[in-house]
C-alpha cells in the first residue's frame, strides 16, 4: 500500500492542503531552470520525506523503478542535448516524485479517496450521482481478490484441458463469469432495496 498510518507532522496536515501544495510545486519546478536551485530543492524534498519518518521498505520498489527510468532518460538526454540539461530534467523529476511520495506516504488511503470524492462531488450538478461513485470504489476493492480467484480457477481448469496458455480460452470464461457475478450482485443489491438516489427531501 502506497499510503500509510504515519503519525509525523506531515500526516496531521489536511490532505487537501498537501495535494494543493504538490500541484503548485510541480508546476513551479518546471519554471526553474537553474540546476543549483533544482539540486537544493531535491535535497530539501529528500529531507522532507526523511523527516516524515516513512517506512523505507515502502519506498524501495517505487524508487528502484523510477531510478531505472530516469537513468535511461539521463543518458539519452545527455547524448542528445547536453549533460547539464539532462541533470536538470532528472533532478526535477526526482524532486517531484519524492514530494509525491511524501504526500502519499503520510496520507491515509481513506482520506485520499475522500478528497477525490469531494473533488468529484460537483458532478451532481450535471446529473451524476456521488453515491454511485462511492459504491463503485468500494465494490471494486471488494471484487479484486474475487476476480483473481476466478482467474486462477479458470486457468487451472484450462490447464487440465491443455489450454492454459491459450489467451482466448482463459479470457472468455473469465469475462463471462465476471458478467455473471455482476448480474448477481446487481440483483442482490436490488433485492435488498439498495437505492443510491438521495431521498427527495435531501435534494
Amino acid at each position: 500500500m502506497i499510503s500509510a498510518n504515519n503519525s509525523s507532522y506531515l500526516a496531521r496536515i489536511k490532505p487537501g492542503w498537501k495535494f494543493g501544495a504538490l500541484l503548485v510545486l510541480s508546476i513551479a519546478l518546471y519554471l526553474i531552470t537553474s540546476w543549483i536551485v533544482l539540486l537544493a530543492l531535491f535535497i530539501a524534498s529528500a529531507g522532507l520525506l526523511l523527516s516524515a519518518r516513512v517506512d523505507p521498505k515502502q519506498l524501495r520498489l517505487p524508487l528502484i523503478s523510477i531510478t531505472v527510468i530516469l537513468g535511461i532518460v539521463f543518458v539519452l538526454l545527455g547524448i542528445q542535448t547536453d549533460w547539464l540539461n539532462a541533470l536538470r530534467s532528472v533532478l526535477r523529476l526526482l524532486t517531484m516524485c519524492l514530494l509525491a511520495y511524501s504526500v502519499s506516504l503520510t496520507t491515509k488511503f481513506e482520506a485520499m479517496l475522500e478528497l477525490f470524492q469531494q473533488v468529484a462531488s460537483p458532478i451532481r450538478f450535471v446529473g451524476g450521482n456521488p453515491a454511485q461513485i462511492a459504491l463503485a470504489f468500494s465494490m471494486t476493492i471488494r471484487f479484486i481478490p474475487e476476480l483473481k480467484k476466478v482467474y486462477v480457477e479458470v486457468r487451472e481448469a484450462q490447464h487440465a484441458r491443455g489450454l492454459a496458455n491459450n489467451p482466448l480460452a482463459v479470457t472468455v470464461p473469465l469475462v463471462i463469469r465476471s458478467l455473471k457475478i455482476a448480474e448477481e450482485t446487481a440483483e442482490a443489491l436490488d433485492a435488498r432495496g439498495y437505492d443510491s438516489d438521495p431521498a427527495p427531501h435531501q435534494r
Binding site: 502506497i2 530516469l70 532518460v73 540539461n85 502519499s104 488511503f109 470504489f137 455482476a182 443489491l189 443510491s196
Partner: protein
C-alpha cells in the same frame, strides 16, 4: 444515463467489476508469448476489454476508477506501483490515456463494430477500433507526456514506447476476439 435507480445500480456494478478486472490483471505476473521479447502485462488488456464490452461511458469509468484508486495509494498498477508519484512521473500520460482509450474503443464498438453484420467485416472493424483506441489514443497521451516531463524529444519518446508495441498488438487481437465472442452471447450488453 437512465434515472431508473435499478439500472443505475447495475451500471455501477459493471463499472466496478471491470475496474476490478483491470486491477486483477495488473497483479498477475507478466506472461511471455512466443516471439515477443518483452514480457507483457495483461493490465491494458483489461482497459481495452472494458471499452469493447461495456461501451464508452462505463468503459471509461472502469479505467478511471482504477487510475483514481492507484493514485490514491493502492498498488494496483503492474509491478505493484501506485501513489501520486506514478501520475507525476514520466509514464503518467499512459495512465491518463487509459481513460480516453476505453472511451474511444467503446464509441467505435457501439456505433461502428456492432452495427456491422458480416463476420469478417466485424472482425476487421473490431481490430481497427481496438488498435485506434487501445494503442493509438493511449500512446497519443503517453508519448507527448513523457517528452514534456523529461525533456526528451518526441521521436526518442516514441521509439521508447515501440518496445511495448508487439505486446499491445497481441492484446488488441485477443481483445477483439474475446469481445466479439462475448457480444455474440450477451447481445444486450451495450444497450
Amino acid at each position: 444515463m437512465s434515472r431508473n435507480s435499478s439500472s443505475q445500480t447495475k451500471n455501477t456494478v459493471y463499472v466496478a467489476l471491470f475496474a476490478a478486472m483491470i486491477a486483477a490483471m495488473g497483479l498477475l505476473p507478466p506472461i511471455t508469448v512466443g516471439i515477443i521479447p518483452v514480457p507483457i502485462t495483461l493490465q491494458t488488456l483489461g482497459v481495452m476489454l472494458a471499452g469493447a464490452l461495456l461501451g464508452p461511458w462505463r468503459g471509461a469509468m472502469s479505467s478511471l476508477v482504477v487510475v483514481v484508486l492507484a493514485i490514491a495509494g493502492l498498488p494496483l498498477l503492474s509491478g505493484g506501483r501506485g501513489g501520486l508519484g506514478v501520475l507525476l512521473g514520466p509514464t503518467g500520460g499512459y495512465l491518463v490515456g487509459w481513460v480516453f482509450g476505453s472511451l474511444v474503443i467503446g464509441l467505435l464498438f457501439k456505433y461502428w463494430v456492432l452495427r456491422r453484420t458480416g463476420n469478417a467485416t466485424r472482425l476487421l472493424a473490431g481490430l481497427a477500433s481496438v488498435i485506434i483506441g487501445g494503442i493509438g489514443v493511449i500512446y497519443l497521451c503517453g508519448v507527448p507526456w513523457t517528452a514534456a516531463v523529461t525533456g526528451l524529444d518526441f521521436g526518442t519518446s516514441l521509439i521508447g514506447s515501440a518496445a511495448f508495441l508487439p505486446g499491445d498488438l497481441f492484446k488488441a487481437v485477443v481483445t477483439t476476439l474475446v469481445a466479439l465472442t462475448v457480444h455474440r452471447s450477451y447481445r444486450g450488453l451495450m444497450s
